[in-house]
């Protein structure tokens, strides 16, 4: 195990975040605050409560997920795409380092960023709403699993993308709709029955439901199902990334 190399990649990636602090941390925090103002206060004051949880508080887990998912993907995909784009990846590729170690470095850094971001959003939320966390242990678990698995997913996208358009494609075309339709801002039983069934096909729903349960003990699906879904997703990403590395996917001619 080349620990020094993992540390080097991790540090370089964290340094990159510091250089783009405004974009990678401030922007998501500000947009989350705006969501609170618009949905939590303005609209939320007209919505009494959802499942006995004040609407402002109800949307907190969904908002966190929204940011965690999009930021994990964009951080991790950009982290590996950029050196591919500039050509500096040659150095990593010629180093005595396994794909697994490359993965730990890049995905670890991206997940760390997301985690910090999530904490910041949580803190921001406490300025707007009363928050209680019923199951802190589960909450941290879902929180970490989400950071890691979606950073891994972002890493896959970054490896796969060979231009900037592809890099944006999946996040904007698939992830954002899935998160919005996954119950970030509502409980699924507020939907007509037909759409409830459709919603169950949305993997992000399980994530948000489980995460929300860890806060308020209310959920759309059982927490065990939620946990299985995210673990399944993590496992699928690992298999994909392993297969990509095995074949030197788009990295080695």
């Amino acid at each position: 195990m080349n620990i020094e190399a993992v540390k080097a990649i991790y540090r370089a990636e964290m340094r990159r975040t510091r250089n783009t602090l405004l974009q990678s941390v401030a922007a998501p925090v500000i947009s989350t605050a705006l969501y609170f103002v618009v949905f939590g206060s303005a609209i939320g004051s007209r919505i009494e409560s959802v499942d006995n949880v004040a609407y402002g508080a109800f949307i907190v887990p969904g908002l966190m997920m929204l940011s965690l998912l999009t930021q994990s993907i964009s951080n991790a995909s950009f982290g590996i795409f950029f050196p591919k784009f500039t050509g500096t990846i040659y150095e990593v590729m010629s180093a005595p380092i396994s794909f697994f170690e490359i993965l730990i470095g890049y995905v670890g850094a991206a997940a760390t960023k997301s985690f910090i971001l999530g904490v910041l959003i949580l803190i921001t939320a406490t300025f707007f709403v009363d928050l209680r966390i019923a199951h802190p242990f589960w909450m941290i678990g879902f929180f970490l699993l989400t950071c890691v698995s979606f950073s891994l997913f972002g890493f896959i996208i970054g490896l796969w993308a060979d231009n900037f358009e592809k890099l944006q494609l999946i996040p904007s075309l698939i992830i954002t709709p899935l998160v919005f339709l996954g119950g970030s801002f509502y409980s699924v039983d507020m939907l007509p029955e037909f759409w409830q069934k459709i919603s169950l096909l949305n993997p992000v729903l399980y994530l948000i439901s489980g995460f929300r349960w860890s806060f308020f003990e209310v959920s759309d699906v059982s927490v065990g199902v939620s946990l299985s879904m995210i673990l399944l997703f993590l496992f699928a990403c690992m298999v994909i990334v392993w297969a990509m590395f095995k074949t030197g996917y788009k990295l080695k001619p």
Binding site: N2, E4, A5, K7, A8, I9, R11, A12, R15, R16, N19, T20, F82, P83, T86, G87, T88, Y90, E91, V92, M93, S94, A95, P96, I97, S98, G248, K252, P253
Partner: protein, 311 residues
């Protein structure tokens, strides 16, 4: 390691890119520990492909490469930590400081941090005052220095320089050769590619000529020049003559303006150079010889000859 064990051993190496282009057509090459090997070849010859394969950037189609006895695929950790690579292109990240990017390289190759060593390295490359500069603000030559610093940051035993002097001024070139010389003295094996023949002539121990994905020649620099070089025999005459005597017309001699020097060009590769015959014919024609001189053609001429012959 014994004298005869090569530090890098390449056997039957081929590479066909996905688009079907065969860039390497069965290369066999043993590189000796501590030598400076120059790979000469025209654009598209396969020099970069060869180097990239050894460094793990390109997967070989067939054949094998060992570095210090280890297979580059099975034991990639062992082989790669021995190697430093200065790539042909100026590839550097944009938003990084010089000091950070060099420290990054060292870490990547598994070495624990050593600020003192890196500082000395930067100083040697006259980058000492650029440690906190952003790499994108450096000039092209400075960037190349940074790339060299990165390649040397983990104290490799083998250094690949892929066209190190492309776009480099005289001073950097001199600095670079100083570093190469110091590295050679500390036992580092150096492989460089170049289009500039003087460069190979200046610093290499051996020269390999690559063209069309094949290694056409591999010789000690001096042996290569001797073996392949055109030589010229300059005969200085005691008395000047007005024209080359008719009986000597077969030799294709050239007469100097003042009529005292006769130049004979011959191919040193041939068994019979015709020198002996010429000298006896000269005296038969009644010309007496004052002095004799042979001159060797440069690697450049040799190189053009080889590649032409192959085409």
């Amino acid at each position: 390691m014994t004298e005869s064990t090569p530090i890098i051993s390449i056997k039957g190496l081929t590479k066909t890119y996905d688009n079907g282009h065969q860039a390497l057509k069965g290369v066999d090459l043993d590189i000796r520990e501590g030598e400076i090997l120059a790979l000469l070849g025209p654009n598209g010859a396969g020099k970069t492909t060869l180097i990239s394969t050894i460094c793990g950037l390109v997967s070989p189609s067939s054949g094998s490469v060992t570095v210090a006895g280890y297979d580059i695929i099975k034991d990639f950790r062992k082989t790669r930590e021995l190697i430093g690579l200065v790539p042909q292109e100026l590839t550097l990240g944009a938003f990084e400081k010089v000091g950070n990017t060099v420290a990054f390289s060292r870490g990547l190759f598994g070495k624990s941090p050593n600020n003192k060593f890196l500082e000395e390295l930067l100083n040697e490359l006259t980058l000492g005052d650029k440690k906190d500069s952003m790499v994108q603000q450096l000039s092209g030559g400075m960037k190349r220095r940074v790339l060299i610093a990165k390649a040397l940051s983990h104290e490799p035993r083998i250094l690949f320089l892929d066209e190190p002097t492309a776009g480099v001024d005289v001073e950097l070139r001199k600095d670079m050769w100083n570093i190469v010389e110091r590295l050679r003295q500390s036992g580092v094996t150096i492989i460089l590619t170049t289009h500039y023949i003087e460069e190979a002539e200046e610093i290499a121990d051996r020269v390999g000529v690559i063209s069309g994905g094949e290694l056409l020649e591999l010789e000690e620099k001096t042996a290569l020049m001797e073996k392949l070089g055109k030589k010229q025999l300059v005969v200085e005459l005691k008395n000047s003559i007005d024209a080359i005597p008719a009986q000597l017309s077969d030799y294709g001699l050239e007469l100097s303006a003042n009529g005292t020097k006769v130049t004979y060009t011959f191919d040193a590769r041939k068994e019979r150079t015709g020198m002996t015959a010429l000298l006896s014919d000269l005296s038969q024609a009644g010309l007496s010889i004052k002095d004799l001189n042979t001159a060797q053609s440069s690697l450049e001429d040799i190189f053009v000859d080889i590649v032409k012959a192959d085409a």
